[in-house]
Every structure is written in C-alpha cells, then in structure tokens.
C-alpha cells in the first residue's frame, strides 16, 4: 500500500453507526480516508457493505461540453421535488503532469449546497482508466449506506464516453448535444448497447430534432427481445430545466421496470461479482507490483540478459514472464 501522509489524515475512522445515521461529516471523512488508501477505511467499508444496496444509482455520461453537470443540477432539483434524498459523485480529470486537479463540476450544482438532503462529492480521477475514479465505487457505497436514495455519478467527460461506468450504475443516461454526431459516436463506442436512456441536451440549439430522430432510429434498430427495456430518447434543456422533469420520471420508470422484471437484482449480483473480481485483482496487483519491479531489475542485472533484451525484447519478456508465473504457481520453485 502506498504510504499515507499522516498529517493530512482526517480524524480516525468514524463509527459505523454514524455513517448509517447519515452523519455528513463522518461520511465525508470516511470517503477522504478511502481516497487516501487508509486500510482502516477499507475494513469499515466491509462492515458497511451489508447495509448498502438500497440506493438507485444513476450514471450520466457524455462528451465534454454536453452539459452533464448542469443536467445533474436540474435532476437534483427534480428528485428533491419528488422527496428523494440525492448523493452525487462528480469525477474530474487529474493533471497528468502534476497529479493535481481542479474539481469544477460542483460549481454548477452549488445552489444545492445548503440542502441537507443533498450530498455532493467531487473526486479527481487520479489517472484511473476510463476516467472513473478508483474510489468512486466505494464512495457510492458510503453514500448508499448513509441512506441517500438516489446517487448520481458523473464520470470524466472523455471524448469516448466510457463504459467502465456500467459496472457501477443501475441506469445509464447518455447525453448528446445536437449537431455534433454524438449519437453516431456512441454507437462506435459501444454505448448504444449500454445506455438505458438517451438524452439530447440543449434542445434550444438547431439540429435538436434531427439528432433525436437519428438516435431514435438507432435505438429501434436494436434487436429487442420481448420484455426488455426500450431505451427512450428524451430532449432536455438543462439550463432552463426544460424536459428534466420527464427525464427524472424516465429514470424512475426504468427502476420500476427493472424491479418488475427482476432485472435490478440480476444487475446488482453481476456487478457485485465483477467488483469482487476487481478487488481481488487490485489487491494482488498491489502486492506483486513491487515484486515484479524487483524481478525485472534483477533480470537486467547481467550483461547477457541485457543483450538478450536489446536483441529481442519480446522473446526475453516471454521468458521472464514464464518464469514469474511458474514461481507464482509453485512458490517453492526458484525464479531464476
């Protein structure tokens, strides 16, 4: 595990009870500890796990400039009107050069800062693949255990809207803006299959109607089995809130549909399995990563092997990899 910087460590891990009671400061601090890679926080997550699973997790994905944050801001308002409590996880990119980040999505949602029924958390992607912060999943778990009924996740808006988010959410909305060919891009990126709702935002722009028609056409081309959810295409103007009420209803409809058709449970089970797989993978990698580094360094220590790498790195790598995996399978054997 990476070393912590003890001085910036928030208070010692909080009580489980505080989280389950929805204590905002306790929840926020736990998330902070998770991000910092604190092992005690990971243990606490384990204890929270059985208390979670009640929240409806929504993802809003789409290219940069599609107005995702503004849309989420309006969605929060709509869900609050319907008496739901709402948690938001907004992920922004980290600077490759410095590792720092400006987390700006929140600016659009700041009108909700005083609302006790809304918890917004900004998160830096920190180089995690797919733009979804490593800790986003665990953050959702905390918000879920705290009792937020709807959780909205905004991944980094990358050119290729990312699919990783599907392992995290129950319902995925894909935002496109008119006149950009986003719909076509979505097909190429494989999002057509993954999205449950298609949102054409900025309907005040020219070309909105034709963008919606294109998307509807693409959606209808999907071969649908009976009793499966037909993804609707909805137009919104996030700035004015137009169409967002309907969008909120459609998300809730989707949840109802999944419940009625026992899909929600299946998704949750599948996601749990996938997450377990990820956890194992990550833990193993955390442990063997430095070991691999050491072995590679040792391998390069002799002139002969260095020459072999220079001559044919593919062959040399295959040889070392074979040895390493053999050692992992039979720890009594020698690496070299």
């Amino acid at each position: 595990m990476p070393e912590k910087v003890p001085d910036i460590q928030p208070d010692p891990p909080v009580e489980i009870r505080q989280i389950l009671d929805g204590d905002v400061m306790a929840g926020a601090r736990l998330i902070r500890c998770i991000e910092a890679g604190d092992p005690a926080a990971a243990q606490m997550l384990g204890k929270l796990y059985s208390h979670a699973g009640n929240a409806f997790v929504i993802g809003i994905t789409g290219p940069p400039g599609a107005g995702k944050s503004t849309l989420i801001n309006s969605l929060i308002t709509m869900f609050r009107k319907k008496q739901f409590t709402v948690g938001v996880v907004a992920v922004d990119p980290s600077s490759r050069k410095t590792g720092g980040a400006v987390l700006g999505d929140r600016v659009r949602m700041q009108a909700h800062a005083g609302d006790k029924g809304v918890f917004i958390r900004s998160m830096a992607a920190r180089g995690a693949a797919g733009g979804l912060a490593r800790a986003a999943k665990d953050t959702c778990l905390v918000l879920d255990a705290m009792g937020y009924e709807i959780i909205i996740v905004e991944p980094v808006g990358s050119g290729q809207a990312d699919l990783e988010i599907t392992t995290l959410v129950h319902s995925l909305g894909l935002v496109a803006i008119p006149g950009t060919g986003d719909g076509i891009q979505a097909v190429k990126a494989g999002l057509l299959e993954a999205a449950d709702l298609f949102i054409v935002n900025k309907t005040d722009l020219p070309g909105a109607a034709s963008e919606m028609m294109t998307l509807e056409h693409l959606v209808q081309q999907r071969s649908l089995e009976p009793d499966t959810w037909q993804p609707p295409v909805v137009g919104t103007c996030a700035r004015t809130g137009e169409g967002v009420d309907r969008l909120a209803d459609l998300f809730l409809d989707h949840r109802q549909f999944m419940k009625d058709h026992q899909v929600l449970e299946k998704i949750q089970t599948a996601q749990a399995g996938e997450y377990f797989n990820t956890l194992v993978r990550q833990m193993v990698m955390d442990r063997i990563d430095p070991w691999i580094d050491r072995q590679v360094a040792a391998f390069l220590d002799t002139a002969a092997q260095k020459a072999a790498v220079a001559a044919d790195p593919y062959q040399a790598a295959r040889k070392l990899a074979d040895r390493l995996t053999r050692f992992l399978a039979e720890p009594d054997s020698e690496v070299f």
Partner: protein, 132 residues
C-alpha cells in the same frame, strides 16, 4: 511514488464580490502544485462554504476577498468552523488585505494570509507548511 493522499483545498468566494480572477489563478497554481482544488463559484454564503467544506472533507478553506469585508467574514467563518468541530480544517485568506489587518486575522485563527501580490510559491509553500 505518487501519493494517494493529496491536500484538498476549497477555493471559495464569499459574499457579493464577483472579482474571481485571483481565486481562479490561485486554484490553477494549487492544481499545478499537486493539490486537489474544489472551486465554489461566486456569491457564496458562509453556510454554503461550510457545507461544501464538510461534504468535500477539505483540509484547507481558501477565501478570496477583494471587497474589504475580510474582517467580518473571517470572524464569522472561524466561529462556524469551531462550532461545527472542523478542527482539521485550516482557513487561509487572500485578496485585498491591508498590512494592519494581517495580525488581526491571524489572531482570529486564520492560519495564513496571502495579500494580493503574494507569489504562487509563497502560497503553495504556506499551505504545504500547514501539514508539516
């Protein structure tokens, strides 16, 4: 090794003043110093700033105040920080701050004061210094 534990800073613009150039460029400088910066946007009430600081569990609240109202604002905010038990959160202030007010602010509990013209290096090392 890249540390997972980064300093989280809320750069906030309290009150009605809308001059945000300073707040924005400092946010960018802190980013480039490897910190994670949450920017509040303009016209924030102290309640909004507090609730944002709690939800984002920041280590530092950095206020940018250009209107001259830094004394009343900081007096209130330091009291709120104490009252809500945000013991680990440091308050720092920048903007149009006359020399004679720096000590007054420090006595109130403001951890560092960065008057207009303070270099990025000084701000960054000042914030880093709060955690050493």
């Amino acid at each position: 090794m890249e540390t997972l534990n980064k300093i989280r800073v809320l750069v906030a613009k309290p009150g009605l003043d809308g001059h945000d150039k300073g707040a924005k460029i400092v946010a960018l400088a802190l980013r480039d110093a490897g910190m994670e910066v949450i920017y509040s946007g303009l016209h924030q009430t102290l309640d909004q700033i507090m609730s944002t600081a709690v939800q984002e569990s920041v280590d530092v609240i950095g206020l940018s105040i250009m209107s001259g109202a830094h004394l009343p604002i900081c007096e209130k905010l330091t009291a709120m920080i104490k009252e809500q038990g945000l013991d680990n959160v440091h308050l720092v202030v920048g903007g149009v701050i006359p020399n004679q007010d720096v000590q007054v602010l420090r006595k109130m509990g403001v951890a560092a004061v960065f008057p207009g013209g303070t270099s990025f290096d000084t701000i960054v090392s000042g914030i880093n210094g709060l955690f050493q």
